[in-house]
Each structure stands twice: as C-alpha cells, then as structure tokens.
Subunit: 348 residues, 3 copies
C-alpha cells in the first residue's frame, strides 16, 4: 500500500529529527550532512505537494515572527508564504523605527536613542512566536554578527537566520536543492560547481558566497572558487566548513582564473563581495570589470545561478540571465520549500 | 431542494469562467460584459454570506502577494481581508526601500541605485504566490503605466492591478456593484449616472474616472461626464471603452455643465483629475472652485459616490458627505466582495 | 464528566458577556470589576491551552484591522499572534504615509496635506474588519486623545485602544493577570502593589501608569504610588478610577517616599512619566536620578514589573532586571492571552 502524503511527510520530518535536534539555524552547518539531506527530502515532498500540504494545515495554531532590519523581497515573501500556506501565522516586523530602536551592547546606560534591549526583545518575541526569524546585515564591518548572535543568546524560541554578516543558511539550503535538481535529482555529489566573484559597486558582505561554499561542501561537490587577488573569502569560515569535506567527499579549489573555474561546470554561481581592503573596494572592483559573467564564461557550463537580487550587466549579462542556462527563478522558488522544511521539522 | 451555499458559490464561479478565462485584471475590461455580470453575482453571494464563506476556507493553502509602491488604506485592507477571510494568506510588500529599489527599463547596466529588475521580481513572486496584486501610481507623467505593464509581461501568476495610471479595476467593479444596488438590485441599465470633475489641489491621474466610465459603460448606463474646458478625459481610453457600449446599450454624453449632468441622476460620482496641461493644473483648478459638489448639485440626484479618500469641502461639502444621499461607505465596503470574487474565480 | 476545553472556553466567554456587553475597550474600565475578572478567566484558559485553542480556530472567517500611528513590538506582535493563532486574519496598517495622512478636525477645508478624514477611515475599516485596534500616542500635549476618540465615535466595529494618551488597557489587563499570578493564582486582592515613578529622558505620557492604577484598583490592591514633587498623576483620571475602589476594597496611598512604597510590596512596578511642567521635565527628572530602581529598592519586595520597552540602568538597573525578582518577560507574555480573551469575548 502506498503511504499517504501525510505519512510520508511525517516520516521525512522524523528522519530530520534523528539527525538534528537543534533549534538554531544560524550558519547552516547545524543540521550536519545527514540532517541537511533529510531536510532536502522534506523540501521535495513539500514542493511536489504544496497545495495539498497547505490544505493539511500542519502548522495550525503556530506563529512565526520575522524581524527584518534590512530590505527583503524573496526572503520575506517565501518565509511568510511557507508559514501561511501551512496554516501558521507569520508576523512581519520591521526592525528600527516601526518597532523600537534596539540596543545590543551589555551594561549600557540607555539614556540615548535606543529604547529597547535585545535582552527583553528576544525573550518577549519568543513568548508569542513558536519560531523567530531575524534578518540583520552587518553595521560596522563585514564580519559584524552582533544582532543574530544576541538573538541566538536570548531567544527561547527556535531561531532562523534570514541573512547576517557571514551566513544566509536558507539560501544555502535552496542552493543545494537547486544544484541537486541540476545534478540529476537528489545529489550533486562530485559535480563541478564554480563560485565566481563578480563586480558589484558596493563592498557587500560574504553571507551568500560563504553559504554557497557551505552548500557545496555539504553536498560533496568539486567546488572551484574563483576570485581576483584581494578578494579572498574569510579564512576562518573557510576553515570551519572544510571540516565537513572529509564526510562528503567534497573537494575545494581556489583560483584566480575564472575561465578555468567555469570550464565544464555544472553550475556557475556568480556573486559580488567586498575587497579584503574594504576602503579600496570601488577601485579594485573596477579593475576587474571583465569578471562580469557573460556568454563566453557560460559556454561549457550547464547552468547559471545567483541568489538575487542581481545587478544586470554588472554581475552577469542580460544575455546569460535571459538565456536558457539561467536557473535563477527556480533557484529562488526553492526558498519556499526549504524554509517550509525547517519549520515543519521544528513544529510538526 | 435549495442548493447549498457551497454549490451556489461554485456554480457562480463556474459561470464567470465560461465568460472569462484570462488571468489579468489590468484595466477592468478583461472580463467583458458577461464575465463582469457573473463576477458581480459571485460578489453578491460573498457579501451576503461573508462569515459562512470565511468558515468554508475556499482559498486554503493559497497565497496572494500584494506589492504596494504607493499608499493605500481601502485597497490594502480589503484585499488582505478578502484573502485572509477565505483562508488564503496575503503578503503585504512595500515597494521601494523595504524590498529593493526596482528597475523597469530593459538593457540597463545596473550600477546605479536600483538593485532588482522586474524581470526577476515578477517571476520570483509568481513562484511563491498564486496571485500577484500590484499598486503603482504613475511616476513621470499621468499616462505612465510602466510598472503594471512590466509585471503583466513578466509575472507567471494571475495579476490584479490595484491602481495604475489609467485604471483601478477593483474600484470599477465595486462601483458597478454599488450602482446596481442603487439601481434596484442587479442592474443600473439605462439609469443616469453623472461623473463630474471636482476641484483637487493636485494634478491626479485618471485611473478612477476612467474606471468609472468603464464601469458605467459595462453596466449599460446613461453616462454623463461633466468637466470644465481643459479637463477632458484621455481620448484613447475613452475610445476603447466606447466599443462596449453597443453590447450594453450604454450612452455617453460629455458636457461642460455640471448642473445639467447631475439633474435627476441616480448617481453623482465626483472625482478630481489633472488638467490636460498638467503644469497649469493649480491655476485652472482654482478657477473652477464652484465645481465642489454641494447640496444644490445633489438636489434632484439620488446618491453621491466617491472612491475615497476624499478631500472634504474641496471635492464635496461636509453637508453632502454627511447627509442621507452619501453612499461612499457602502461603496467602499463593496471592495471586499468584488475582490474576493476575482480571487475565487481564479483559484477555486 | 469533565467539560471539554471548547465548553469551558464558551462558558467563560458567556460569563464575560453577562457582565460586559460593550464593544469599546478604551480606558480599560469598561468591563467593570466582574467583567474584568471574567476576562481574566478566559485569558487563563487560553494561556493554558494556546495550541489546542489555535487548532479549534474560534476566530475562523474573522478579521482584525490594527492601525498603528506609533512604534510597537509587543502590542503589534501579541495582537497579531492572538488573532492569527485563533484562526482570524490580522491586517497591520501603518498610520501616516503608508496609508493616507489623516484628518481629525471637523469642518476643515481639506486642501492641505491631509488626504483622508477619520469620518471615512473609521467606518470603511469597520466594514472590512470585525474588530478595529488603534495605537496613537498624543501629538500636541500629554492628554491629547484626539485619534482614539475620533475612531470611537465613527467606527461601527468593536474597537480596542492599543495605547493612547491616557490609557493602555491591554497592558492593564496583562498586568492584572501577572499580579494575580504573583498573588497566588487568581487574585492580588489586598496585596501591596507599588507603582513608582522612575527617571526617563523623555516626558512620556501617563497611559501606562494610569493603566497600572486602574488595574490595581480593579483588582482590589493596596496600591502605593510613589513620585517626586512635580510628577503627580492626572487628577481627573485618578478621581474616575477611585470610584471603583469601593467595589473592590482597594486602597490608594500617594507618597513621595519610594523606599516606603516599595517596602514589602508584592510588586514594584516602575515607569517614567512626564513632569507636570512638561518643559521642565529634563531638569526635574535629572534631579531624581536616585529613583532608578535598584537592588536596595527591591530588597523586601517580591517582584519587579515594567511594561517594556525599558531603558536599562535609567529606569531600573541591570542587576534587578536580570535578577530573580524580575517578572517582565512573563508579564509581556500575558499580553497575548488577555487580548485573545477580549477578541473571543466579542467574536465567539
């Protein structure tokens, strides 16, 4: 007898829990290799049966509070839709003036312009919501994870990082699902994945490229990271994820040669990020205008990915983005099922 | 045996679909004469059984994304309530800074202040939501429909225009429902409807007056449009809607004489719009301060309508608005049922 | 036979209705002594069975519109979660630019910068929503209740005040629930409650301290209010609430001596509010820096409360707030059940 959808969903969620009992998704490594695979299985079930699962209302009576200190289109919408479709209620909160200006430092005499300390905000929101989700880009420097760390410390509820300085774990999960789709269904094990730096006028943090690296290593890819001199990824974070490669058979190659890195790749994943010398970013980025991904870079590659939003004709040409190799829309669409999978794994 | 509410609702929705298979509501003419009548029947069923239909959850598991580039009270609330009451989930998105500044031009090198192209935004939102709804007033000139046209081109999901430069189709549907209520229940066929220009300090676009014209023509009214010299409605749009008059028996009279136009009218619908010479608007509008609708203009008319928000004692006097002939509140209330009807016709 | 949860909930709601038939919660005195007690019983049932009640969907097909003219974290989130968890739909509306700038004066010629009059906004929102909730801090002076009074006058739907100049009734209900928890379960009758002024850089209105007074009087407390010379609470409001003391056995002591007031108190409730001479606030408040609640003030008291957000080391020291006597998180958590109780009492 074929198991019902409900049974399949519950069993897939149960498999996540045998590998991952945690209630934090901050850098995306938390579920581990097996937990991540199990999460992606839940996501596939959700994706193939979205409306039917929506009618099952698995999150009935549950609330998710999303606190956004920074702009969002995909993350906000996909998180809210994943929650709402499953019968839960999503509260969108705009960080800053629409709530109260928040204090993150300890021991401060709060007689200035901050009105609420995270030591109250995090537990209070945890009392209303079954899950918190927080988006906070870095303020002071590109490794500044003050906000998400403070919430992780003081929130009693399960917590999802919706992009911080160093990680965008939901993007990482969606990327794995997308790369596995391209790799033949359930895996991109051993496939060549190219992450290439590309020009961007702003010195962006490394949340996405580091999450791509983590995704590729967790999935056992043959990962090639191409970036010009002066644009190396954060060494500490790269070291941490390298530890997973032994378990997954992943390989990591760092190169200055975009052409080499893209050659024959299953995926060319482009992203801009800041120069190590942040103040010199504009000048250095301008020197490497030829790193814009165009048809030539894609010639022998199978698919183009980007987390979006993407600056057309700066990161990548119209011709690639509007061409048959671009998979950025299904990639963005995969945000909803992976986030639903995380919520279901915590709340079902 | 009396059919159940559920049966009546499904049958009414099925009738809409026999006349209208499209998935765009942009200028309001799309459902055609018969499709519009069928939509209004669905709206009447919803209106008479709002709580019961709410408990039936006809939109369970469905999501609607509403992207607002401009302010809204009625449109946002009625759209969100219609979705939520039916069991669907509505995501409110603020266009601009809370999401990402959006690019609408083709072929642009995006190294300026726009971060996301509509060519990505529209299909990505379509992947999460079952219906998109977009509100974008004109930016550059009063015929500028860039935003809604771009979404219509690139959105895979059904799309509702929540007010653009030239159309406010949900307002038009609510106006038809309201005028039919006043006309004796199901129709205002052959009734005199007066649309009159009224003073407003700003050179407003013609979305609402053109939608009133379309509503009146679709409903077969004897429409009188009164406006001073220099305030004619858009000729191209007027020509397009005139084509429907033959099917509905509608008549159209253009006049400079507000008193003539309002005389014995079932409805006096007031609205301010820009002078054809937009730069001369303030001066020209000031010359016609006596076009404010007051008790004298309403003497022989049955009902006063306005889309709201309305500037009191500029468009219309307190005495009319607070008097027994004002029907602006039931008119605004009709927004919820007509929008529910559109959603149900697409998603049930 | 034990009654089911559903039966218990319906019976508790019915008891509220025998005491309170009104549809306004503006200053918090409306439900009266018995109605308030019955409301708190509903809140306790909700709090103990939140997820199960969420799955019962008692507010299915219902909509609540929340209009926020001012910032909010707790109030917005707890109101939205209470509505959504019960199966209703909550629409968050930002007052001001995201909606339309609103006019509250009567008889105005609206040719300036306000676009919509509350005389339309309130009934229109009432037509979409089953309950309205409005948050509007005072604009001109600390007794300015223009906004909530206008909504109360023109809204056809039941209306909850989410904080105005003189009242924060949902906070008051949560405070009663919290004080009753501390008092041994269902009551703090006869217990010593200390409300103490504390320094704050801004001349805040008295909404919260007056609601604490109302809460303590309704609950029959032995209330001690401590404030320096020049910081007396509003005499008119104090007189009005005093009328309830006869029914509840409450006692009220006003003092300049914080140490006396806190001694042996069950609750020390700190709050900053403006000097009677608002312009002299900064100077006067600075003179009383030693009113910050610290360990010494809490030595013989049982619990510390504050409505939050709280300025650490200005209103209260880190050591009290992070210590075992602080009950501010459960106090904030009590917002959800009391607000759910109000909604259920109106809509079930």
């Amino acid at each position: 007898m074929t198991p019902t959808l409900e049974t399949r969903l519950y069993e897939a969620v149960a498999r996540v829990r045998t590998h991952w009992r945690g209630s934090r998704l901050i850098d995306g490594l938390e579920p581990g290799v097996d937990g991540t695979r199990a999460l992606l299985d839940v996501a596939r079930i959700y994706r193939a049966n979205r409306l039917e699962i929506g009618r099952m209302r698995p999150l009935l009576g549950r609330a998710v509070a999303g606190l956004f200190f920074d702009p969002s289109l995909r993350t906000h919408t996909s998180m809210e839709v994943a929650t709402g479709r499953c019968g839960g209620h999503f509260v969108y909160l705009q960080g800053g003036e629409a709530t109260w200006k928040m204090e993150f430092d300890e021991g401060v005499v709060m007689n200035g312009n901050t009105a609420e300390h995270v030591k109250e905000a995090a537990p209070v929101l945890s009392s209303y919501a079954d899950v918190l989700a927080v988006r906070a880009f870095p303020r002071t420097h590109n490794r500044d994870e003050t906000v998400i760390r403070a919430f992780s410390r003081y929130a009693g509820a399960p917590l999802i990082n919706l992009e911080s300085a160093l990680a965008h774990p939901c993007q990482g999960l969606a990327d794995q699902l997308t790369m596995a789709d391209l790799g033949g269904g359930n895996s991109f094990q051993g496939k060549k994945i190219c992450l290439t730096w590309a020009p961007h006028p702003k010195p962006l943090p490394q949340a996405v490229p580091l999450s791509v690296v983590r995704a590729a290593i967790l999935g056992g890819a043959d990962l090639h990271v191409a970036a010009p001199v002066g644009f190396d990824l954060d060494a500490e974070e790269m070291d941490r994820v390298a530890g997973f490669a032994a378990d997954t058979g992943a390989k990591l190659t760092l190169t200055r040669n975009q052409a080499e890195a893209t050659k024959g790749a299953l995926v060319v994943y482009a992203k801009g990020w800041a120069a190590e010398d942040r103040d010199a970013h504009a000048a250095l980025a301008a020197e490497h205008g030829n790193w814009t991904v165009g048809d030539e870079a894609m010639r022998t590659a199978t698919a183009f990915l980007h987390c979006l939003p993407v600056r057309r004709n700066v990161i990548v040409t119209d011709s690639v983005l509007d061409g048959p190799k671009s998979r950025v829309i299904p990639q963005a669409a995969n945000r909803e099922p992976v986030q639903a999978a995380v919520l279901l794994s915590w709340l079902l």
